[in-house]
């Protein structure tokens, strides 16, 4: 049996849903960030898989994947900086406890 | 895809065994011995002298001793991570060697992303160190791990900048391709002297050697991230470190000193002569310079090496384009 596009897509779908689960259920802001990284990776797998199987002539998918990786690095940097700032000011990084702006 | 998978896997296992043995002997054991001998020489003393002729078997004896020692796992440690950390460091150190060409054809795999692969693998070491520092559940180890992470992440950038400059000069990421380009055009230390300087400084920091040995500064943090490690795990950390250091030396040889090229002598001999010259340089530095402070270290990377490296890339790009 040949490894086809669908295989990669299913793996990425599972990875994406695992990431979504982390984002939905984790209290720790860093864990949520990790979930987001998983989702981004899943998206990257999709991009590269589509690139190979549907449009191998151009490398647009890989280019996009690289852009996504760069932006993921940005997101991680800023997100973690926010976590640090929150921890310093509120002494917690649990998102359900960070509620000083509520009401 | 005409890949013969069983053959490939078999070759990979065989090569790994060969490389591991080679590294254990050539880098770790010989490296430790060299370190002590050169240290003795620079400090006008004898160094190890009694085990074997001129103390040549000293590290063999030490290795046997380490192999026999008990594995102590601290009670509050995170056992899984604690045990995994030395392996990560050692494996990352070994992976570097995959792309080093010792002589024409004598390379594990000539990847077309060779030096990118090298940089990626070098960066993996940090995770092992950080994990080990955390899992020990010891404040010295944790601080050492954090320092190491900060330092290595910072110095990866100048290192990568040095690599990029060379890649631009050669027009390829493959290490074999770079050596061939040097055989054609002359050693890159001539064209890329600033990149070489930046690379050497960053490499010294990347392998946590004096004057950048803050993660394991004995006088401040006992032994840094591997304070709690004993026996063979400790030896694995050491192996990883020495493998990394020798890999850096080998890469410097490959990128800047023309790799295996040289007259009369066989290419492999030339390669090892150059590599050991750079190893000697690392050791020379160790016994010469004092340790930097953490803020000085980070300032050096972010405020001097990185801007200088970017400027040099600009100059190189201009030279190549016009």
């Amino acid at each position: 049996m040949q490894v086809g596009l669908t295989h990669f897509l299913i793996v990425s779908a599972l990875l994406f849903c695992l990431g979504l689960y982390a984002v939905l259920t984790r209290r720790n802001a860093v864990a949520i960030l990790m979930g987001i990284e998983l989702m981004l990776n899943a998206a990257n797998v999709n991009l590269i898989a589509f690139n190979k199987f549907t449009a191998p002539g151009a490398l647009n998918g890989q280019v996009f994947a690289l852009v996504v990786i760069t932006l993921a690095a940005c997101e991680a940097g800023v997100g973690l900086a926010l976590v640090m700032a929150a921890y310093r000011n509120l002494e917690t990084i649990h998102v359900d406890e960070i509620n000083v702006m509520k009401w | 895809m005409g890949v013969n998978w069983p053959l490939e896997i078999g070759r990979a296992i065989a090569l790994t065994v060969v490389m591991f043995t080679f590294l254990a002997v050539v880098t770790a054991m010989l490296g430790v011995l060299l370190e002590r001998k050169i240290g003795g020489w620079i400090q006008s003393r004898l160094g190890p002298k009694h085990v074997g002729p001129q103390g040549l078997l000293q590290t063999v004896a030490d290795t046997i001793k380490l192999l026999q020692k008990e594995h102590i796992t601290p009670q509050a440690a995170d056992v899984v991570i604690f045990n995994a950390a030395p392996l990560i460091v050692a494996v990352a150190g070994l992976m570097d060697w995959l792309v080093i060409p010792f002589a024409p054809g004598a390379i594990v795999r000539d990847l077309n992303i060779g030096i990118l692969f090298f940089a990626a693998m070098a960066s993996m070491t940090v995770i092992g160190i950080l994990a080990g520092g955390f899992a020990s559940n010891n404040k010295y180890a944790l601080l050492g791990g954090l320092r190491s992470a900060a330092q290595m992440v910072s110095y990866e950038l100048p290192l990568a900048v040095g690599l990029i400059a060379v890649a631009m000069e050669a027009g390829t990421l493959s290490t074999v391709g770079i050596v061939n380009a040097q055989i054609r055009n002359g050693w890159y230390i001539l064209y890329q002297l600033p990149a070489f300087v930046i690379f050497m400084i960053a490499a010294t920091a990347e392998v946590n050697r004096v004057p950048f040995d803050l993660p394991e500064a004995e006088s401040e943090l006992v032994a840094g991230y591997f304070s709690e490690y004993t026996g063979m795990r400790f030896a694995l950390f050491q192996l990883g470190e020495y493998a990394e250091m020798f890999a850096m030396a080998a890469l410097a040889t490959t990128l800047f000193l023309g790799g295996w090229s040289g007259p009369i002598l066989p290419p492999v001999v030339w390669f090892f002569i150059k590599m050991y010259a750079i190893v000697f340089f690392f050791m020379w530095m160790r016994w010469t310079y004092p340790r930097l402070r953490l803020d000085q270290l980070l300032n050096l990377s972010w405020k001097l090496l990185l801007p200088a490296g970017l400027l040099w890339i600009l100059i190189t790009g201009y030279r190549i384009a016009f």
């Binding site: 979504l20 984002v23 939905l24 259920t25 998102v95 359900d96 509620n99 702006m101 509520k102 009401w103 | -």
Partner: protein
């Protein structure tokens, strides 16, 4: 130099602005700034005077103010001989008074404000003098009035001062209304405000034959403008404010009510002399002469019976201004202006001397004083020089100028010459009455400790005394009367000097001094007896001819009664109507309020309650936690995908 003339009023104006803004933080609490301003103006005036002496060409500078229809309105300044003389008088005398004030006012809590007012006054007066048109002149005129109000009422916590200020302001305002009417009349008939154009047109006969209400337009205009002069120069019948104005600080009396402001009236007549001269039959000039004569004699008689030193000087001022008017009225243009100049110096000197005396005695009553000659020699000698100048004794300033006026009167209108001569006699009498009461004999008050004034006060006295002594020689006939050569009205020939008349006037003055000495120094004829002999006449004079009372009955009472009546009308008729409307409104409002409360508010409240209830339910959806929202989004995505998939 003359191009810089516009700077002359700017200096004191800048001083005023500075003192207003920074007050006590300035050097000398503002006084030095004010003095510096006026001295700068004085120096510039002297420079311009010297230049004009060489080339007496009038200088004019204009700028376009606005267009009235097609008619351009140019405003500007004019510097000619008349202006130069006035500038000199105002700035030089003003400088002396400013310096004197440093000493006189130094304990006053509103010290810097005083200098601000003084500076503003000087600026206004200089603007008035420099104006080449009636608008600027009127502006300066009103500003001068305002400053005089502020300065007379400087001690506004004293009711009498406040009342005097009000009286001065309102009385002069009566004259100003006439003047304003005159200006408008001229503008509507001639279409310009500029003196030069007005005079040119009048000389060319632009108004000849025109009448307004049966009277010749030119005469009406001239007399209306003279109305302003009457008010400002305190001529009969608007003279009553000036004696009361003595409530202000003495330097103010000296500056405003002797040397400069009241001179503005005379200056106005001189400036507009062409109008008066050109009026048919010179009726306007005649009016000026008679008003002047009446004022001169009346004020002189009142001055004789006053006991307040400053009031004596105030009436003296009215009298002397009357004399100037008389001089102008009988054709003595140069004589009037000459007397204005000399009078400014010696009257300022007298006022400042009086101020020095008051400063020492802390009372105005001459009957409380006596024997001050020994205590205050500087004041005594300077005051004596001023008195001699006022009386017209050779060689002091007053002799020359008064003699010229009497000469002109003798030639042109003998009746008025008699008035002038009588005034002259009375003048000498009353001023030496003051001197004998004040400086000779012994001190009558027992709780006063007089002392000589400080140098900053006596210094200006001596300077003014020097001027009073020598300034007359600029009009001396044996020197060729250089003043007349410099300043004269074309078309009127000066009457040649007559030694006989000069001797006569000298004799009249001497007689006045002698009479005063007989009564008040040697006391050969006691004052009591004289007063009893005069009888009802004395009573009449002592009550100032009952003019204040007459005004009270004739004008103030009716006005007050009308005001009272109108007030009653307001209170009982208009207010009642307004209240009626108000009550009706309130009643209607009550009605509307019921509707608002129960119908409109009810509806609004229903909406509000509904929204509040809905919000209370829905707010539980808003947890403020991103993960809840994300879950909702995920479920929503699932629903959308599912509907898309299984449709």
């Amino acid at each position: 130099m003359v191009e810089l003339a516009w700077l002359i009023p700017v200096f004191p104006l800048a001083a005023f602005a500075l003192i207003t803004a920074f007050g006590r933080r300035l050097p000398g609490e503002g006084a030095y700034v004010a003095v510096a301003g006026i001295i700068a103006s004085a120096l510039l005036s002297i420079g311009i005077f010297l230049q004009m002496l060489g080339h007496p060409t009038p200088y004019e500078a204009n700028f376009r103010w606005m267009l009235v229809g097609q008619l351009p309105l140019d405003l500007g300044i004019r510097v000619d001989a008349l202006t130069t003389v006035m500038l000199l008088v105002v700035t030089v005398v003003g400088s002396m008074i400013f310096i004197y004030s440093i000493g006189y006012m130094h304990e006053d809590p509103r010290y810097s404000r005083f200098f601000a007012y003084l500076s503003l006054f000087a600026a206004s007066m200089l603007l008035l003098v420099l104006a080449n048109n009636l608008v600027f002149l009127y502006a300066g005129w009103e500003l001068v009035g305002l400053c005089s109000y502020l300065l007379i009422g400087f001690y506004f916590e004293r009711p009498s001062a406040a009342r005097a200020a009000m009286k001065a302001f309102i009385t002069t305002r009566v004259g100003d209304v006439f003047m304003f009417l005159g200006i408008l009349l001229l503008f509507f008939t001639l279409g310009t405000f500029r003196f030069e154009e007005i005079f040119t047109k009048v000389s060319q006969g632009a108004l000849t034959g025109q009448t307004i209400g049966g009277l010749p337009t030119l005469t009406v205009a001239a007399v209306l403008i003279f109305g302003g002069a009457v008010g400002k120069s305190a001529q009969f019948p608007l003279h009553t404010w000036l004696p009361d104005a003595m409530e202000g600080p003495t330097p103010v009396s000296a500056l405003i009510h002797a040397a400069t402001m009241v001179a503005a009236g005379v200056y106005l007549v001189a400036r507009a002399y062409t109008l008066f001269f050109a009026s048919p039959g010179q009726e306007a000039l005649l009016a000026v002469a008679y008003i002047g004569g009446i004022s001169a004699l009346m004020a002189a008689t009142i001055a004789v019976v006053q006991d307040d030193i400053k009031r004596v000087l105030a009436y003296s001022t009215i009298s002397q201004l009357g004399l100037m008017m008389l001089g102008l009225g009988v054709g003595g243009y140069t004589a009037g202006m000459f007397h204005l100049t000399t009078h400014a110096f010696f009257k300022a000197l007298l006022f400042l001397g009086a101020g020095s005396v008051i400063h020492a005695m802390r009372t105005n009553d001459i009957k409380q004083m006596g024997g001050l000659a020994k205590v205050m020699p500087s004041t005594y000698w300077t005051f004596l020089i001023g008195a001699l100048a006022l009386s017209g004794i050779f060689p002091f300033a007053g002799f020359w100028s008064k003699d010229e006026i009497l000469l002109e009167a003798f030639h042109n209108n003998p009746a008025l010459f008699v008035v002038g001569a009588l005034t002259s006699f009375l003048t000498a009498f009353y001023i030496f009455r003051v001197i004998f009461y004040t400086f000779s004999g012994t001190l009558r008050s027992h709780d006063a400790h007089p002392h000589e004034s400080p140098g900053v006060m006596t210094g200006p006295l001596w300077v003014l005394a020097a001027f009073s002594t020598v300034i007359g020689f600029v009009g001396a006939p044996f020197l060729g009367n250089p003043f007349h050569a410099f300043l004269r009205f074309e078309g009127v020939e000066a009457v040649p000097f007559s030694p006989t008349l000069a001797l006569a006037s000298l004799a009249i003055a001497a007689a006045g001094i002698g009479a005063a000495a007989v009564v008040y120094h040697w006391k050969i004829v006691p004052a009591q007896a004289l007063r009893r002999a005069a009888g009802p006449l004395h009573t009449l004079v002592a009550n100032k001819y009952y003019l204040d009372e007459l005004y009270a009955v004739a004008i103030v009472r009716p006005v007050l009664w009308i005001a009272w009546a109108l007030r009653n009308f307001d209170v009982y008729v208009i207010d009642a109507l307004v209240n009626l409307f108000g009550l009706a409104g309130v009643g209607l409002a009550r009605l509307y309020r019921l509707m608002d409360t129960y119908i409109v508010d009810g509806l609004v409240n229903v909406v509000g309650y509904a929204v509040k209830g809905a919000g209370g339910v829905l707010r539980y959806v808003q947890t403020g936690r991103a993960q809840n929202y994300l879950l909702a989004i995920a479920l929503g995505v699932i629903v959308l995908l599912a509907t898309g998939l299984f449709r």
